[in-house]
Amino acid sequence: MIADDNLLIRDGLASLLRDADIDVVAQTASADDLLLKISSYEPDVAIIDIRMPPTHTDEGLRAAEEIRRRYPKVGILILSQYVEVGIATRLLSESAAGIGYLLKDRVTNLEDFTAAIRRVAEGGSALDPKVVSQLLTKGRGAADPLNSLTPREHEVLTLVAEGRSNKWIGERLVITERAVQKHVTSIFMKLDLPQSDDDHRRILAVLAYLRA
């Protein structure tokens, strides 16, 4: 299900997704209509633009919150022309399960984009690398435990924060899943975070740490 007030984007996205064997059950240009269609289609994922009529401010976000409240099983992938840490915080304030927040440009990397959709559909998370890098590069004191991470651990942390699974990270960095788990355990030790096997609980812990 796609909600975006720009016809070009909506149509282009639908064509791309169909090519990638993802069913697009419905499209809409407004937040109100989106809620209506969600109730009748109950899709696995709703892809939502933040700015929609009438005020073109945060209609999409508010619709997402409403969907989360009424249909917790529907995954939500927010697409936007820009990404802001503040919006990510608002979006993930309660849970990261089945929630994604990506730049619209990511659409053109089809493989990665569909992977994010599938992850969100399965209850995982997808956070745009730009948000993560904004969080990682934010000014901190010299005593920051982040400085004690090895470059490899840094890489792993970034990918964890984006919501990737150990398996995906292993494939990406060309290491075994067990090696990834080892890195994660080490990172969580260094940052003094509670261990968790759950991907989206893990991302919340990391985000909470990075925002602090």
Binding site: L8, I9, G12, L16, R51, T108
Partner: protein
């Protein structure tokens, strides 16, 4: 008419004599008359020896009114209060003195008109302190009616009363005479209540300073009520209880004194002008308004300064104020100096009788008033500058928001869509060349539209065409205009860049307005160099009726021009086209 007429005649003479010397002479004559009348009233009684105290007091009432009246008259020649008190005093004497004359006619007249002092006493109460609430004709008709009723009833009563020297006597009938006597007493009592009611209603509507000034009238009304009660008791029970007699007598004696004090206090306020001059010398941060309020003893006094450039009144902080209209409770005077409007002063109606004092105070405050007006004007300008600066910043923010919105909804979306189309193309180019071809065609036209949009946006940020000179820029502006536009630029050399940019935006915004509202068929743009700077004029032949308050576009334009020290004028009579002209000062 007897004494009453004579007094009124004399009054008119005095009113006509405007020079202080003649007035002093006449007041002196009044003094002599008063002393003579008082002596005449008391002499027989004293000759008989051991008069009753109440009777003695009764015979001094007239002197109290006349003496206090003369003093009040001298203090406030322009007020009715003094003359009315003098008239009341003389009318009071009239009966006492005239009835002693050995003439039936005079004696009869003395009885018929003997109680007219009550009417002038009532008039005094109603007229104090401001008076002049009634028109002259209304006041005279009410007075006339009162005199007619009072004198008529008394004359009718005399018809049935056998008395020596009663010229009106026809037949003795004590029953009818008593009834008439009771009737006139009831009428007098009702009249006293009416006066009290008029004063009470005025009191309720009055502001605090007016109430303070009304106190003497209130004391008078109370006395009048006691007197009315006394008259009633006399008519119905043929008795005079001491608890009515004494308050009435004391009241009648003291009321003139209280009135005099009221007048005196206002007069003492005149001494405030001296105080005011001292205050004006050392204001110590106090506002001129509070100094004047203090001088005139009216804390509600407000000053509004006239700002000719703004065409409005403002307080000392330069905030625009709306002048109230003059009413029963508030008076409004404009202050002029050398024929130029300076300010307006709004003050309490209790000062109505003190206009001369108000004038004197304003005259004394003359230079300070002018200075304060300058300060107010300066503050108004600063306020306007601040507002215009805020508008400029706001307009900048709004413009950036508009650019962001345009980029977001336009080029940015198109480029993302274009990216997606390229991806689709990637996947189809081998399998479905026909679809791929169509995709390339749409992508190319999308790209062209995006490029166009970006160019328009860039022009909105800064018209790059200005690099080629104002003439070229204006001509390309004219070429894009939907209304036929002629450009004429009469400049020997290029204007400074900021002036060129401002001139360009004046023309561009004016053309945008023409396209939106004017329904014009042609527009001319003229740019020339005047003595004060560059002159940009955009004139159309449309429907007119434009003003800078309606569209923020013109307001923003005015701000832009004013920020450069220039001026934007909009001349847009309904039905006769619109001319927007900007003068932008430029050096060199």
């Amino acid at each position: 008419m007897g004494a009453g007429y004579a007094v009124r005649l004399r009054l008119r003479v005095i009113a006509a004599s405007s020079t202080p010397a003649r007035q002093r002479l006449l007041l002196a004559a009044l003094w002599v008359a008063t002393v003579a009348a008082q002596w005449g009233a008391l002499q027989p009684m004293l000759a008989r020896g051991h008069p009753q105290p109440s009777v003695l007091l009764y015979h001094v009432v007239g002197a109290s009114f006349a003496a206090c009246g003369i003093l009040a008259w001298r203090r406030r020649p322009e007020s009715l209060v003094g003359p009315l008190m003098v008239v009341t005093g003389y009318l009071f004497y009239a009966r006492l003195l005239l009835s002693r004359l050995d003439s039936s006619f005079v004696q009869t007249s003395a009885i018929v008109f003997g109680n007219l002092w009550l009417i002038s006493f009532g008039a005094l109460l109603v007229a104090f302190p401001g008076g002049r609430r009634w028109s002259r004709s209304r006041a005279w008709s009410v007075l006339g009616l009162c005199v007619l009723v009072e004198a008529g009833f008394t004359a009718l009563w005399l018809v049935f009363v056998p008395a020596p020297g009663n010229l009106l006597f026809v037949s003795a009938n004590s029953a009818v005479a008593d009834e008439l006597n009771r009737g006139i007493s009831v009428i007098r009592f009702v009249a006293a209540i009416a006066v009290a009611v008029v004063l009470a209603r005025r009191w309720r509507a009055a502001t605090a300073p007016v109430r303070r000034a009304c106190a003497p009238a209130a004391a008078g009304a109370l006395t009048l009520l006691f007197l009315g009660g006394l008259v009633l008791e006399d008519a119905f029970h043929e008795a005079q209880s001491p608890f009515l007699v004494w308050p009435t007598l004391v009241g009648l004696l003291l009321v003139p004194v209280v009135f005099l004090v009221g007048v005196w206090r206002a007069w003492v306020a005149r001494a405030a002008i001296g105080e005011l001059l001292v205050d004006l010398g050392s204001m110590d941060g106090r506002s001129l308004q509070s100094v004047l309020a203090n001088a005139l003893r009216d804390p509600t006094l407000t000053l509004a300064y006239w700002l000719p450039d703004f065409g409005s009144y403002a307080d000392s902080d330069g905030q625009p104020v709306e002048l109230p209209t003059a009413s029963v409770t508030r008076l409004v005077d404009t202050v002029e100096q050398d024929g130029e409007r300076i300010a307006a002063i709004v003050y309490d109606a209790s000062l109505a009788d003190e206009r001369k004092l108000v004038e004197a105070v304003i005259a004394a405050a003359g230079i300070a008033l002018k200075n304060e007006r300058l300060a107010a004007e300066l503050r108004a300008r600063v306020g306007e500058l601040r507002a215009s600066r805020a508008r400029v910043v706001g307009a900048g923010d709004e413009e950036r928001r508009r650019l962001e919105r345009n980029l977001h909804d336009g080029a940015q979306q198109r480029l993302v869509a274009l990216g997606m189309q390229l991806r689709l193309l990637e996947s189809r180019i081998r399998t479905d060349p026909a679809a791929a071809e169509a995709l390339v065609a749409t992508a190319a036209s999308e790209l062209a539209v995006s490029v166009d949009e970006l160019r328009e946006l860039a022009r909105g940020i800064h018209p790059a065409v200005l690099d080629h000179g104002l003439t070229v820029a204006l001509e390309s502006l004219a070429a894009r205009s939907t209304v036929s536009t002629a450009v004429s630029v009469d400049l020997l050399e290029r204007l400074p860049e900021v002036v060129e940019v401002a001139a360009y935006f004046v023309a561009s915004e004016a053309l945008a307005n023409v396209a939106k509202y004017a329904q014009a068929t042609s527009v001319t743009i003229n740019v020339s160099r005047g003595a004060t700077g560059a002159l940009v004029e955009v004139a159309d032949d449309g429907v007119g009726g434009a003003d800078d308050a309606a569209g923020s576009g013109l307001r923003g334009l005015a701000d832009r021009v004013e920020a450069l020290g220039g001026q934007l004028r909009i001349n847009s009579p309904l039905g006769s086209g619109t001319t927007i002209s900007a003068v932008i000062p430029c050096e060199s």
